[in-house]
């Protein structure tokens, strides 16, 4: 117990996922709606109980909450589209708790949905362009003229620097990809169905060296949603609430290229805030759901969150720590590398479900009491942290 006034006062009362992977018949909003109704059912609520809406869709849609609210047919006392990239989804949960605390609303739907697979695979020409960002969001200078494109390259610059400073090796990054695949094979909803060996990881084609194919997360049609409300309100409902014990955010707005930001990320400060609020430390965490846009980001965040020393992330992951039954089973759904990519929303869902204890012995992290969930994004500099606990 930390004595923080908001710790343990709010809960995730229900979770939902849309169908995942290749779902060409559903739009961004369809997917989000599907996840939202499933989360409401899990929480024992109906859409009429919702008076807050904190959601996110494609990067270009700042009106996503309005569009979703119109479909749900509700008005909201508190509502916005959260725009910190992959850090947005935990930020929505944080904003929900703060808004309820402030008396602005009582029950908030937090969600994210995007048809990223269909968007880039609608036909051959879109597949070749394969951009999820619109032209007018692209840099006009100091990048494209040198062929500097893609989130893969931005993160790979960090991975290369980490390799140089700490001696990290590609096969260590591979231990992350293969561990998450092992988890995914236990998850019938996961997009990736086949086992992945370290040899296959190393032999796969390179994309932006040091990243090969399996260092990169999936393109998915996917959505997730959770319902945030007070602990008291959840008591009256037929649901399995999960406690929000701590949260934090930090944003290295000075830039990914500044100082050592690419090898000591905003996760370090964000994590400290969340641990302090929850009154726990990395040794207390039973399972982690770490934002895995690329393998390297998992390794560097594990260091930043204090699961191992700075620079020892490679050895930590290669020890098998993240695998099923490891010292820190991580991304137990398969994560964005092997389950589906919904900008971190599905990882909040997975963290909550592990603490709801709904899985069979094959997939359930044994005696899980505390889960750390991380969100990273907004052009690599924004971070958010969430510590969930069994109620």
């Amino acid at each position: 117990m930390s004595g923080h006034p908001l710790a343990d006062r709010y809960v995730i009362a229900g979770t939902g996922k849309s169908r995942l992977g290749k779902v060409p018949e559903l739009s961004d909003l369809d997917l989000t709606e599907e996840a939202a109704y499933r989360a409401l059912a899990d929480a024992g609520l109906t859409v009429r109980d919702i008076d807050g809406l904190l959601v996110r869709g494609p990067d270009t849609s700042y009106t996503f909450h309005q569009e979703l609210g119109e479909r749900l047919g509700i008005n909201a006392r508190f509502s916005t589209t959260t725009c910190n990239g992959g850090a947005s989804q935990i930020l929505s949960v944080i904003q929900a708790a703060m808004a309820i605390e402030a008396g602005l609303c009582s029950t908030v739907l937090c969600g994210y949905g995007r048809s990223a697979w269909s968007r880039t695979h609608a036909d051959e020409s879109t597949r070749v362009r394969a951009q999820t960002r619109s032209e007018d969001m692209m840099a006009k200078e100091f990048g494209p003229e040198y062929g500097y494109f893609s989130a893969a390259a931005t993160h790979a610059l960090g991975a290369r620097r980490h390799m140089h400073v700490y001696g990290t090796r590609r096969e260590q990054l591979g231990a992350i990809a293969t561990a998450f695949r092992e988890h995914a094979l236990k998850n019938p909803e996961a997009q990736m169905k086949k086992p992945l060996s370290l040899a296959e990881y190393l032999e796969a084609r390179m994309i932006v060296d040091p990243f090969g194919l399996y260092d990169c997360s999936l393109r998915s049609d996917a959505a997730g949603a959770v319902i945030v409300t007070s602990r008291e309100r959840a008591r009256d409902r037929d649901c399995k609430p999960v406690l929000i014990k701590g949260f934090g955010t930090f944003n290295n707005l000075s830039g990914w290229f500044e100082g050592d930001n690419m090898i000591r990320t905003a996760a370090a400060e964000s994590g400290k805030t969340a641990y302090a609020m929850a009154g726990v430390g990395p040794k207390d965490i039973d399972t982690a759901q770490i934002y895995d846009c690329f393998t390297y980001m998992v390794m560097v965040q594990l260091e930043d969150y204090g699961f191992c020393k700075k620079g020892e992330g490679g050895d930590f992951v290669a020890s098998g720590a993240l695998r099923p039954g490891g010292v820190l089973p991580t991304n137990t759904s398969g994560g964005q590398l092997s389950e589906s990519h919904a900008e971190g929303m599905l990882q909040i869902v997975e963290g909550a479900r592990q603490l709801q204890g709904i899985y069979g012995p094959d997939r359930q992290v044994k005696d899980a009491e505390l889960c750390l969930v991380s969100g990273h994004g907004g052009n690599t500099v924004c971070h958010s942290s969430l510590i969930l606990g069994r109620a």
């Binding site: 394969a130 990048g143 003229e145 040198y146 500097y148 494109f149 060296d209």
Partner: protein, 137 residues
């Protein structure tokens, strides 16, 4: 005016970065320097991140630096680069402090290393624009 056979993106200078591209055309690398405390800064901003005072001038820099980090592209994201794979994009830390994205050239991609010393060379791509690229010293 684009050279017809130049298929890669051509930089679109902004109001703030015009002096940078005017200098590269004359084979000079310039960076914004605070007129109050002399700290270099990049990207461009109105106020100095070190002393908070407004105002900067574009000053020629040595053109020397080191490769802070780099990546090697094995797939292209723009058709103009299809014929160049594999190519290297580096984050170059200039002696004066600022870090800029460019290509590391004049060396096989597998030979590039972090912290390797490099120096600028200019590659004209249109009558108006020359790109500063970096090669090992």
């Amino acid at each position: 005016m684009d050279t017809p056979d130049y298929l890669k993106p051509v930089p679109v200078p902004s109001k703030e970065t015009k002096p940078f591209w005017e200098a590269t055309r004359a084979k000079k690398l310039v960076m914004p320097r605070c007129t109050s405390c002399g700290t270099f800064r990049f990207p461009v901003s109105r106020h100095c991140r070190a002393c908070g005072k407004a105002g900067h001038e574009w000053v020629e820099v040595s053109g020397r630096g080191k490769v802070f980090s780099f990546v090697t592209y094995h797939r292209h994201y723009h058709p103009g680069f299809a014929g160049e794979l594999p190519y290297v994009v580096g984050l170059v830390e200039l002696e004066e402090g600022p870090r800029i994205i460019s290509n590391i050239v004049g060396i096989a991609p597998e030979e590039v290393r972090c912290d390797m010393p490099v120096a600028v060379r200019f590659e004209p791509i249109t009558p108006d624009i020359a790109l500063p690229k970096f090669a090992p010293v």
